[in-house]
């Protein structure tokens, strides 16, 4: 039982937790900027980025995948801007057509190329591969102190720990100007804050989060990790620091409980199968959001008449 937990449950659980923490951080800011759609876009465009990077280099290592995803993110930003300018389409519409087109291209690339021969296949790209991230050397508590056994941990684990450290460091460094630019962009610019650079940086960090979550929950469910925990936390508090902390707690709870529920709940109910951990995590995230929306103290938050965001006045 212990060996089974250490080998089959603990690694996916830790990986899912790290991935959801990495996602929740930028998610808080995307939510406040009303750019949740950007998170959705990034989580989709990482797929063609990762596939193209693999086809070009033959490598599926973390830095290569991240580089491909960032390149795809930059390309998608250019495409969105080009579509917006040439067709005068709504920015959200431009974003929607861009990321679905790039995502579909990624799926086709994946199918026609040899990439599917490695661990990149369409199903995993869509729904993640949490259950496959196992630790065969995790045979008992002793393995946790055995360097040889620890070396057999899935590579995603240290990679996600590094991504989380990088994400936390980046947010610590830019937090103050990021908050000012998010609340009042014009004022931020008058303070000399490079608001365009900050926006681009946030897009880059969102891409980093999307790449990180890709291994765990795949493209489609990443948006749940990016947005549900911060959105639930937003409904529970009016303090931004508390919102961030709560979002991390909800993200971790969704990941841990989701992984456990997927593996243990159906058997405990006498059912002869298990369900997808990624699906359980995303469902739990949505459930937490629903609970916060139903019972949270801010559910009747009055939108002050002057509080609405209006377009630029001329």
């Amino acid at each position: 039982m212990l060996a089974e937990f250490l080998a089959l449950t603990l690694p996916p659980m830790l990986i899912a937790t790290l991935a959801s923490l990495v996602c929740a951080l930028p998610g808080n800011v995307l939510l406040l900027r009303r750019q949740a759609m950007l998170g959705d876009a990034m989580s989709h465009v990482v797929l063609p980025g990762i596939v193209a990077a693999f086809l070009l280099t033959g490598s599926a290592s973390g830095p290569v995948m991240l580089g491909g995803a960032l390149a795809a993110a930059a390309l998608s930003a250019l495409m969105i801007e080009a579509i917006r300018r040439t067709t005068r389409a709504d920015p959200v519409a431009a974003m929607g057509v861009t990321f679905t087109t790039l995502f579909a291209t990624g799926v086709l690339l994946l199918e026609v190329s040899g990439a599917s021969a490695v661990h990149l296949d369409v199903e995993h790209a869509l729904y993640g591969n949490l259950e496959g991230l196992i630790w065969l050397d995790g045979t008992g508590w002793a393995a946790l102190a055995d360097p040889a056994a620890l070396a057999g941990l899935p590579v995603e684990l240290p990679a996600l720990a590094a991504a989380l450290a990088a994400m936390a460091l980046a947010f610590a460094l830019i937090w103050r100007p990021l908050v000012i630019a998010t609340f009042d962009e014009g004022f931020a610019a008058s303070l000399g804050i490079p608001t365009r650079l900050i926006s681009a940086g946030l897009t880059g960090l969102t891409a980093l989060a999307a790449v990180s979550a890709f291994a765990a929950v795949g493209s489609i469910l990443t948006i749940a990790m990016l947005i549900c925990p911060p959105a639930a936390a937003r409904l529970l508090t009016d303090s931004l620091p508390r919102q961030v902390v709560l979002s991390l707690v909800i993200a971790a709870a969704s990941a841990i409980l989701g992984t456990l529920a997927a593996g243990y709940l159906p058997p405990a109910l006498g059912l002869g199968f298990t369900v997808s951990a990624a699906g359980s995590i995303a469902t739990l995230s949505g459930l937490f959001l629903g609970l916060a929306a139903t019972f949270g103290p801010r559910r009747h938050a009055p939108g002050h008449p002057a509080g609405r965001r209006s377009g630029p006045s001329v």
């Binding site: 609340f183 609405r308 006045s313």
Partner: protein, 253 residues
């Protein structure tokens, strides 16, 4: 532009625009605006809706790109002089549902002092609290910004600008949708700033209060119609020209 100015010795110019033009999506919004704002003056920018008043301010501060023209503040390119300028955007330009307390917003005005990582020293905290007190908002420091009335929101914005201790304060419609008490509090603070040699420029809508509040006016309708001391510039024919003869009866003689 105004002949009366060239006869007297020129005071220091807080802000000077020359030939400033701005377009949004190919549509000209401000055309070749030239204007000077002397240090220690208080200027109303007035003109009809769509005249480009907000855009003129934003372009003057470099917040939106200009097609052409030059802006100097205190004799320097405006980008270099920005640390001496406090900008108060339109209240409606931000989302007041943002998770922040009143004091958090005012402390944003201290960013030049703290930078991204610097500590808020006790002196800086006191400065933010004093700025709130100057606008009669001391008791609201811990209040959620979403719980404020429109007038209180505007006071918070002005308190944030006071905390910046700028020499030039640029305000976009500071009296839009505020109560009479707030308007009186704001104008008292602005007149106090002027008395201490600071320069104030505000987009203003209520023509009836222009002579009482402002010593200079700039009439704008995409281009500068007139600019100068209120007593010599704020006349019915000029204002009518700026407003395209829409508002003749609303203008004090």
């Amino acid at each position: 532009m105004a002949p009366a100015d060239s006869a007297t010795p020129l005071p220091e110019i807080a802000l000077a625009l020359s030939g400033l033009s701005v377009a949004y999506g190919g549509m000209p919004v401000v055309e070749a605006a030239t204007a000077r704002f002397p240090a220690g003056s208080m200027t109303a920018i007035i003109g009809p809706n769509g005249a480009g008043k907000s855009t003129l301010l934003k372009a003057a501060l470099g917040l939106v790109p200009a097609l052409a023209g030059e802006v100097r503040a205190f004799g320097q390119p405006v980008a270099r002089a920005l640390p001496r300028i406090a900008y108060v955007p339109q209240r409606a330009a931000v989302d007041w549902d943002f998770p922040a307390r009143v004091i958090d917003v005012v402390q944003m005005g201290l960013y030049r002092q703290t930078g991204p990582l610097g500590r808020l020293t006790p002196d800086l905290r006191a400065r933010a609290e004093q700025s709130l007190a100057d606008l009669g908002m001391a008791d609201f420091a811990q209040r959620q910004i979403g719980a404020l009335s429109g007038g209180q929101q505007q006071r918070v914005f002005l308190a944030r600008a006071l905390a910046q201790q700028g020499d030039l304060i640029v305000l976009d419609e500071p009296f839009a949708g505020v109560d009479a008490a707030t308007e009186a509090a704001i104008i008292a603070v602005l007149h106090g700033l002027r008395a201490r040699g600071r320069t104030v420029i505000a987009v203003h809508h209520d023509l009836s209060t222009v002579p009482a509040y402002f010593d200079r006016v700039l009439l704008l309708n995409r281009r500068v119609i007139a600019e100068g001391p209120t007593s010599t510039t704020f006349h019915r024919d000029r204002v009518a020209e700026a407003y395209g003869n829409q508002l003749l009866t609303a203008i004090p003689a």
